[in-house]
């Protein structure tokens, strides 16, 4: 599938500055969110992750002001979101929620075109944009455009939800556990497709999830939050896995964080040993993550695997030891490529 390159794709930077949300009036009571500060550069995916009740969804909703902060500022491209008209703000921000919230009384086409129609686009332009977006999320506009949400499966509805959020070419996308309501296989597909989409569109995205694996997979930057609504750690996934800032983060990330880190790298970045005859070794394509490679090698119980390049030509031998050394080298502080 080819979608036309997004002319003038825009993305905004986002900053949280000492944002606090307090629900009860008492002076000593902690808020749902406390002094949250972090910056998201334009075009990157920032994932808010943490246990339930840590305030991640509350924080997300403060960006498009479904919830108003008690104190602090949220800056979109440097401008405080509270200074802007709330409706205009929301129309510039894409919003995707877990249950999707497709309007049952509108066709898929009209659902996707909601924000463009609110903003006053012509019918023609709406139609063109709808078709474009549906194709982009993998749904044939001729088949799906005139259907109603009740006729679609869960995974299909999620895709429409994403298309709807992208319709008016927003500066920023907010996604609240968007893939949680579907089964794991569908979820993995949706995640992959979304990442592909993001490579094309390069939007700024804030993504909330309770699943650390999803956070690691999807995020360029991760905000780990604690139950008190505080920031526990902020940084790229590998940093958090390699150097958890506190016992809480270490525990949240999981004892297998070493293995998790392996899933961030692929066989392509690994050095290989020379190999005389390939023999009967398992083949490792370049996109295989080190974690999967390790798993394959351990299961096959061989001295190593055959790394190949994109064309399938053999590169060399990859051993379990090589993978382990790569991990150790990282833990010792060496920078990632």
């Amino acid at each position: 599938m080819t979608a036309p390159a997004q002319a003038g794709t825009r993305a905004a930077s986002l900053e949280f500055r000492d944002v606090t949300k307090r629900y009860s009036a008492g002076p000593g009571t902690p808020g749902a969110v406390n002094d949250l500060s972090f910056e998201v550069p334009a075009g990157s995916i920032c994932v808010l992750v943490g246990p339930s009740g840590c305030g991640k969804t509350t924080s997300l909703k403060m960006v498009n002001r479904l919830i108003e902060p008690s104190s602090g500022q949220i800056l979109l491209d440097g401008v405080d979101v509270q200074t802007e008209d709330v409706t205009a703000l929301r129309r510039r921000i894409g919003y995707v929620i877990q249950q999707v919230g497709l309007f049952p009384h509108l066709t898929i086409g009209r659902n996707v075109a909601v924000v463009p129609s609110l903003v006053g686009w012509s019918n023609q332009r709406q139609r063109a944009r709808t078709d474009e977006l549906l194709s982009m999320v993998g749904l044939d506009p001729d088949r799906y455009g005139d259907r109603y949400p009740s006729q679609l499966s869960g995974g299909e509805r999620q895709r429409v939800g994403v298309a709807r959020a992208l319709a008016a070419d927003p500066l920023l996308m907010l996604m609240d556990e968007p893939f949680a309501a579907v089964d794991p296989i569908v979820r993995a597909r949706l995640q992959d497709e979304f990442l592909r989409l993001q490579r094309e569109l390069a939007k700024t995205i804030v993504f909330v999830t309770h699943d650390i694996d999803e956070a690691i997979k999807m995020g360029d930057l991760i905000v780990v939050m604690t139950e008190g609504g505080r920031l526990a750690q902020f940084g790229p996934p590998d940093e958090i896995l390699a150097h958890p800032a506190s016992p809480f983060v270490a525990q949240f990330v999981g004892q297998d964080r070493g293995l998790k880190r392996l899933s961030l790298r692929t066989v392509a970045d690994l050095g290989v040993e020379p190999l005389a005859q390939p023999g009967d070794l398992p083949v490792l394509p370049p996109a295989t993550t080190l974690r999967d490679a390790l798993s394959i090698l351990l299961a096959a119980d061989t001295r190593g695997g055959l790394a190949v390049d994109e064309a399938g030509r053999p590169r060399g031998l990859v051993t379990v030891d090589a993978i382990a050394s790569a991990l150790a080298a990282d833990l010792a502080g060496a920078a990632l490529t």
């Binding site: 498009n64 479904l66 409706t87 205009a88 703000l89 929301r90 129309r91 921000i93 919003y95 929620i97 877990q98 249950q99 999707v100 919230g101 497709l102 309007f103 049952p104 009384h105 509108l106 066709t107 909601v114 924000v115 609110l118 259907r147 109603y148 009740s150 006729q151 679609l152 499966s153 709807r164 907010l174």
Partner: protein, 222 residues
């Protein structure tokens, strides 16, 4: 009634004019009550939704009104307000409130929370959200209430015949036919009022189909 045919067609054809007038009167009385009742109910429902605490009180009041049979309420109203169209319309309107208000409230309650959240997040203003999202989605239950109220009101108009000859719409023929032991008249009044009610019921079903094209699409899933 031995020896007499069941239906006196000659009487029927001689009275087509007055019968048509009665039908008109019936429709007018019912329509007026339903229209006014709907307007008032909408306001009451809006209040019930905003001030949830009032809703149980309104419900209880409504149930109380409904347990007093119309047959009793009409003469009572006459004593209070004298014999006029008003004394017929007031009870009719009150009875529609009982049917409308719970259905309107339920209709708006039935709009899923995630749809409302999505609407807010996408950037609908509250009035846009109300007109373009909540109202269309509340329609099924509201029309169900309309259906109940319309059919029930048509039935109640027949009862108002007890107040006198100039009232009751088609009910007049039922009562008059009964008093005169005139079967044809009873048949005209009875069958036509039932037909009218059935027609109204059917009309409301059509209205609902018209207003909710998406409901028909259900169960055509892949």
């Amino acid at each position: 009634m031995s020896g007499e045919p069941l239906v006196r067609w000659d009487w029927l054809f001689a009275h087509l004019g007055p019968i048509a007038d009665r039908v008109g009167q019936h429709i007018y009385l019912a329509g007026l009550a339903v229209g006014i009742g709907f307007a008032i109910s909408f306001v009451l429902a809006a209040i019930s939704i905003r001030r949830r605490r009032l809703f149980p009180a309104i419900s209880v009041l409504a149930t109380g009104v409904y347990t007093i049979p119309s047959f009793a309420v009409f003469p009572v109203l006459v004593v209070v307000t004298g014999l006029s169209t008003l004394s017929v319309e007031i009870p009719l309107v009150l009875y529609t409130l009982v049917l409308f208000v719970p259905n309107i409230v339920a209709g708006f309650d039935a709009v899923p929370a995630d749809v409302l959240e999505a609407a807010d997040g996408l950037g609908y203003t509250s009035s846009q959200r109300w007109w373009q999202v909540e109202l269309p989605l509340a329609v099924p239950l509201v029309v169900a209430g309309l259906r109940l109220a319309t059919v029930s009101t048509i039935g109640l108009v027949t009862v108002s015949a007890i107040l006198g000859d100039s009232f009751g719409g088609l009910g007049y023929y039922i009562l008059d036919g009964y008093h005169r032991t005139f079967t044809t008249e009873i048949l005209v009044g009875g069958l036509l009022s039932i037909a009218l009610a059935a027609l109204a019921d059917f009309g409301c079903v059509l209205l609902q189909r018209l207003l909710t094209p998406w409901a028909a699409a259900r169960n055509v899933a892949r």
